[in-house]
Every structure is written in C-alpha cells, then in structure tokens.
Amino acid sequence: MEAMEVDSVFYTDRSGRVTSNPLLDQLPSYQSLLYRRKSSTGGTKRRSSTRARLSSSGSGKWGVNTVNRLEEKQKGQTEQRPIRELAKTMAEKRRDKTQRLVEARELSSWRQWRQSTRRNLRRLKDDAQEWLSSLQLWRGDIHLIEGMFGTGILSYFSFLRFLVMLNMIIFLLMFSFVMLPIIMAPYSSGNTTYNQNDGSICSVYPSSARRGLVIFHEHITDLLSGGGFLEQTYLFYGYYKVDKIHFPSITYNLPLAYLLATVAYLFLSLIWIVKRSATGFKRNLVQDEDRFQSFCNKIFAGWDFCITNENAARLKRSSLLYELKTDLEEERIKQKIKDRTRKEKCRIYVIRLILNLFVIAVLAGCFYSIYVATVFSQEAQMNNTKVNFIVDLINEYLPSIVITLANFITPLLFSVIINYEDYSPAFEIRFTLMRCVFMRLTSIGVLLFSLWSQITKCKEEPCVCGYNHVLYSCWETRVGQEMYKLTVFDFIIIVAVTIFVEFPRKLIVKYCECGLAKWWGQQEFAIPQNVLEIVYGQTICWIGTFYCPMLPAICTIKYFFIFYIKKVSLMNNCRPATRPFRASSSNFFFLGVLLIGLALACLPVIVSVAQINCSQACGPFVNYTTSWEVLPTTVAQLPDGVRTLLFALSSEAFAVSFFVFTCLAMFYVIALAGAHKRVINQLRDQLAMEGRDKRFLIQKLCQAQRLSAIKSPASKSQPRSSRSSPCYHTSFSNNFNEAVFLAHPPPDSSTHV
C-alpha cells in the first residue's frame, strides 16, 4: 500500500484505511449525515457525549450556531417519528423512549393522553395486522416457496392466491343477489312469478334431458360438456326463469338484479386490480430511468435476502451473474447498433418486415382454424348423431383443443423467430411476451365471434326472433356451456401436462444419461407462460359468469387445486429459470395482463347484453328485447325526481362536459409532470456543478494550508480554538495533521458513525 494516494481530497494512511480530509468532516452537509436526513426518518447518532463535546468545543460562532440549529430541527422532527424507525442502537432507543416519557410528563395532560392513545392504537393496529396476516390463505406454503426460490416465483403464487380470493368474492356477489332470493323465496313466504311461455315459436325450448335408459358414460359426457342433466340447473342462465319475487315487504326484481350483479362484478374486479397494481405502476411510471440504473439495481438490490436454501443461493448467484453478463452484452450490442451502416439497417428492416408479416399470417391461420373448429363443433352438436363416446367428446371439445394446440405451438415459433430479428435482449423478451399475450387472449375473442356468427345466422334473413331460434332455442346457455367446457378442459390440460410431461421429464433427466436428457434439461418454472395460463382462465371466467353464474365457484376450486399442483411440481421437478424475472416488474406485468384480459372480457358481455336479442324461451329477460332493456324500463318506473336526475346524468350535455373536464385535468397533469422532469434535470446538473465547486475549493484550501505550513515552520501548535478568521476551523501551524481542527474523532471501529 502506498503511503499517500494522489488525491488532493482524500488521503490514505499507511494502514490503507481512508481517513477523510478533516475539512470535509466539518462541512454542514457531512454534519447532517451524522444526525439526520431532512426528509427521512433518522440519521445516525453518536452517544450523547459527542453532542456535548461538539457544543462545548465549537470552534466558531458559526459552527456552534449551525450545530444548535441542527439540534433543534432534529428534535422537532424526531418528535413525530416512532422510536423504532430511528437508526440507532437499542440502548439509545431505550434512552430516547425514557427521555420522551419524561418530556411527556411535562406536557399538558391533554397531550399526554393523546400520545398514549396514539401509542396504544399503534400497538392495537400491529396486533390486528398480525392476526389478519395469520388468517391469510397458504401463508406457510408461500413462505417456504419464497425461501427456496426467491421473490420472482413467489409473486406468481401470491397472484394465484389473489385470483382465488377474487373469484370467491365474485361468486358470493352472484350468489347473494341472484340465487339466494330464489332459494329463500319458499322459506320466507315469497311469491315468485315466472316468465310466461306465450306460445310463440321463439319461446319453444325442447328439453334436453335424456330419456329412457341412460348409459353411465353419458353422465360423464354430460358432466364434462355441461349438457344433459346439467343444463336445467342453477349452473346455467336458462334456469333463471323468475321474473319477480314478491316478498312480504318488497318486490324483488330478479332480471334487474342479474344485470346489475354482472356490472358490479366487472367493476369490482377492475377496482381491485387497479388498487393492487397502483403502487407498482406509480413506481414504474415515475422512475422510467430504471433502465439507466440496471447495474446499480443488480448490485445493491439484486440479492434476495430471504434465500435460506443452499441450492437456491447457488442458483440466485448464477442468475445474478447471468444478468450482469447480459447487461454487459447489451451494452456491447447497443454500441454495435450505433455502428451499423446504412446498408445493414435496410437489411435488418426488410427482414423484420418479412418476419412480422409471417407472424401475422400465422396468427391469422390460427384464428381461422379456431373459427372453422367452432363452426364444425356446433354443427356436430346440432346433428345429434351419436357416433361414439370418444368422438362425441372430441366434437364437443374441438374448439378448446384447437385453442390449446395453437397456444402451445405459437410461443415456440415466436421465440425462434425473434432470434432473427436482431433486437436487444431485453426488448426481445418483452416483444415475445406481448405476442403470446395477444395470441392467448384474442383466441377467446375469435371463439366468441364465431359463436356469435352462428347464433345470429338464420336460414331466412332477418332472423324472426333476432337470433337463430331453431338451432339455439336458448343461446345464452349454449355460450355458457362453451365457457364451462373451456374451463374444464383448461384444468384437465394443466393436470395432464404436469403428470404426463413434467414428472417423466424429471425422471428421464435424473436417471437417464442419454443425449436427449442433456439437451432437454430439467424443467424450468417459466413464469410468463404460467401467468398467461391463469390469466386466460380468468378471462374465460369473467366472460362466462353472465351465462353460467356458478362459474366463479368452479374457477375458485380450479385455482385452489392448481396452487397445490404447481407447488408440488415446482418443489419436485423444477429449477428456477436462468432468465430471472424481477419481482416488481412481475407484479406489474401480471396485473397489466390481467387488466387486458378484463378489458377483453367486458367486450363480449357488453355486446351480448346490449346488441343481441335475448332468448325468448329461457332466462330472466324473456319479457324484454335485449337484456339491457331492464334498466330503462325500471328507470321509467322510478319516482320523478330520481328519474330526472338519472336522465340528466346520461344526457349528452353532461357526458360532453365531463369528457372535456377529464381531458383538461389530464393535460394539466401531463404538463406538471413535464415541468417536474425539467426541474429535476436542472437540479441534477446543479448538483454535479456544486460537487465540482466543493472539491475545487477544498483543493485550494489545502494548497493554501500547505503553503502557510511551509512558510512558518517554527511556530508551535496553537491552542485549539480558532484564531484569525472565524470562517476556517483551522489554525496555522507547522504540523499539517494537527493544524486542521477536528470537529470529532475520525471514524473508528465503532459502527455508528
């Protein structure tokens, strides 16, 4: 170690430990590091003796004043913070507490009471929070997963838990407003009026119950396809033929309740998801400079302190290593992109165009095959010729099979194509993911579109009843059955893939030494694909709840089992992904995709409620043309005042002015954000400039000291109070180290600086 480093501000002594320039220690900014940060909870604090030492040996008027002012400010600010949030040792915190108690006794009794109430409330809140979190579902399991695999995979499982809760709440909503009144009616002397069968051709509803001797496997078919004995149950829309229930005190309008419950559950989902994603989104929005900080993030916030398992630690280390190497690689690629010639750019753009066209063609092909499969399946069900148990099932499930196949092949295709498009690695991942999301969610849309085209296509245009009553006497139930089949099939596939693909893969990799095992490798828990799977299921649930009110309950049970299946698969088969998924962006990604799914789910529901004529043969809306008509009819029956208010709220004048107001608010917020960004940049430049000023001044000061030390070698060490100028905390003497006055001892081995 050299004796002195050539740094005019910092010196290293012989032991190599950096002793900072004593001048720097006396700067006010450094003093505030010792005591407090102005906006955060607490800085560090020495023993109280230091404070005494400082104030008594303050070298100049200015020094003492600054210290006193700082003390007062600190005291004022510490008052509000609870003790446990201060960065001090336990002994100091205890001293603080007794000091506060002493001070509290000096306060008036009102303040005392207020403080003690606040403290008790805080303790109560802590206990309540602890009790609530102990009630949380799967707390122990998730804790275990976090310890073994880190926070990325943890976020997947807590997302799953969130969906279980969401579905349960939606089911409770539908149950209590739609099913419960019907069930309760006979017990609370309610008189139910049913929708009349007025004899027109539209209200013919042939029974689909099986007659005669029913073979056992037909029950299985019915269970899996939602037909047969399941069709006329609470499961499907068609069973709710109730019009009004006359209870002793009120009349319960079931169609209105059904419609409003649908709207309510969509709104509830939206609000809950937005609330959950608010924190992550805010951070992502405000700090878009995150990509400029990728190295710091990995070094300082990269290691997951929760990891307790040796394997997991090893894997985390290798994943961090991989991330750092990828980042370095990305820097190199950025440089390469900058150096691209014109000719190369043209070539790349042409390749990208061709590949994107290819992707669009593949997507179009998949969508067309889904359409054809749906049409074929519907026609096969209509013909009702029973060929064979297996073939029947396949006909029923054909759309689901095609969708699953498409969703299996396309991600593989996309990940191969992206390699040729020559993007930066981070963008590659995001782009492939976007394509997969689009594929998954649009396939449901295509299925619904093909169903809709079947339903509204009649032999003679226009349809007599507004829909094809010959083939679809109760079309809502048919749509509900399709959604039910999709859900069931999805669950079967997840279970089947886990049992028949992942377990054998693990066995092969573990026990077989052939090349196939090496190439295939152990299963990775691919978070994005798993998330897309459950978002797909949830979108189906949202669409299907209107047609199949018990679908949320089925989905709750489905996700409940999926949690355990995935957990077992994770523990036994998987290793964490080499491409790590950051916890924060994961949460944002999950909830973002879920929101897209919700938006997509709202569309079919809105179209079918407002556009397509509801069935005349079944369901609660028989007396209305479309399901939406319930609302205007009810509003017309309301008292005058409420009616005018509602009309005013839905008039164009109100809508236009509301829209204009929202636009203005948005523009204001955007302008504000832009102004803040500019100010931040200016302040940052100023900060850099100030830093340079500081170092320059200190250099000059040290030079001046050295000169004066050389000039007056004979003078001995002066007393330690300031002499000539009150501005410097120095006295001029020969020995450099003693000449510069130390406000406090240099950093020693004590940790609390």
Binding site: K97, E289, D290, I299, F300, A301, F305, T751
Partner: protein, 187 residues
Amino acid sequence: MGNKQTTFTEEQLEAYQDCTFFTRKEILRLHGRYRELAPHLVPLDYTNNPDIRVPLTLIVTMPELKENPFRDRIVETFSEDGQGNLSFNDFVDMFSALCETSPRELKTIYAFKIYDFNRDNFICKQDLEKTVNKLTKGELSPEEVTLVCDKAIEEADLDGDSKLSFSDFENMISKAPDFLSNFHVRI
C-alpha cells in the same frame, strides 16, 4: 398470553415492542433463537439485562444468514464493537431493521452502512468491487468487474466525485423497485 414466561419483565417486553417492529410473541421467539446459538453462554433469564455477546462465527451459522454473501458485513454493522459480536439488543435490532415492516428509509441507511466496507461514509470503487466479488464469487473476470463498477458509479454518482455518498445512494435506492422486497430477512 405471555404471563407464564420469566425471560423478560413486562417493562422490558414493552420497551422491545416500542423500539422494534416485533410483537411480544416474536421477541420471545427471537430470544429462543438467540439462545439456540450458544445455550451455555446465553442465560434463560434476561430480567437483569446480562451483558452477553454471541460471537460472529456463531451468528453467521443461522439459516437466515448462512447463504447471504454479506452476512459478515451485516452482523458487523449491527454490533456495537464493530467486530460482529452481538448482544441480544443488537440481535433484535438487526432483525427488526431487516424485517418486512421496517420502512424504506431505515433500510436504506443500514444498506449503505453494510455496503461501505471501509466505513468512510462513502461507497468508493473498492467497496463496489468487494460487493460485486462477494455477489458473484469470482465468476466474473477482473476487467468485467471493473467495467461493472465503473458503470454503477456512472449511474448513481450525482456530485461527480466518482464515489457514492449517502445522498447518491439514497437517491439511487429510491429508484430501485426491488430493494424493499429483496432487502428483508424473514425470521
């Protein structure tokens, strides 16, 4: 609930509850864990505040800290003598500062102290290099380590002195989305 225990007086438990983020049950559990590390050293009865310190070598064998590359630095930061010997107060303080409910500002302060290997209140290049080496256990080549450290300082240094002061660090951490979820130890 805690009436049968004789480890702490009521006063002590209340003080702990106010000075840390733990409840009474958790404090007692922590005492059990502390005692497990050195049963012959740590008494069961803490009512008279015995001055016992468990050495660093025993503390880093705890499962929560065993796999952490910064375990030595963490324990040193919270010890009063700077050598890593923790009294029970320091032990509880450490896990309280690192627990889930601890606020971001507190964690930032302690993170800065942990990463400041030479304790000069700046995270200089050498501190960074030590951090990176601990994280990757020597898998990166020295040039890559230097490059990574240079880039990190470039990203976070605001006042241009090519080292990170606490305000630089605080500013950088406030923009790190994973910090709060990663920088916590479950006990």
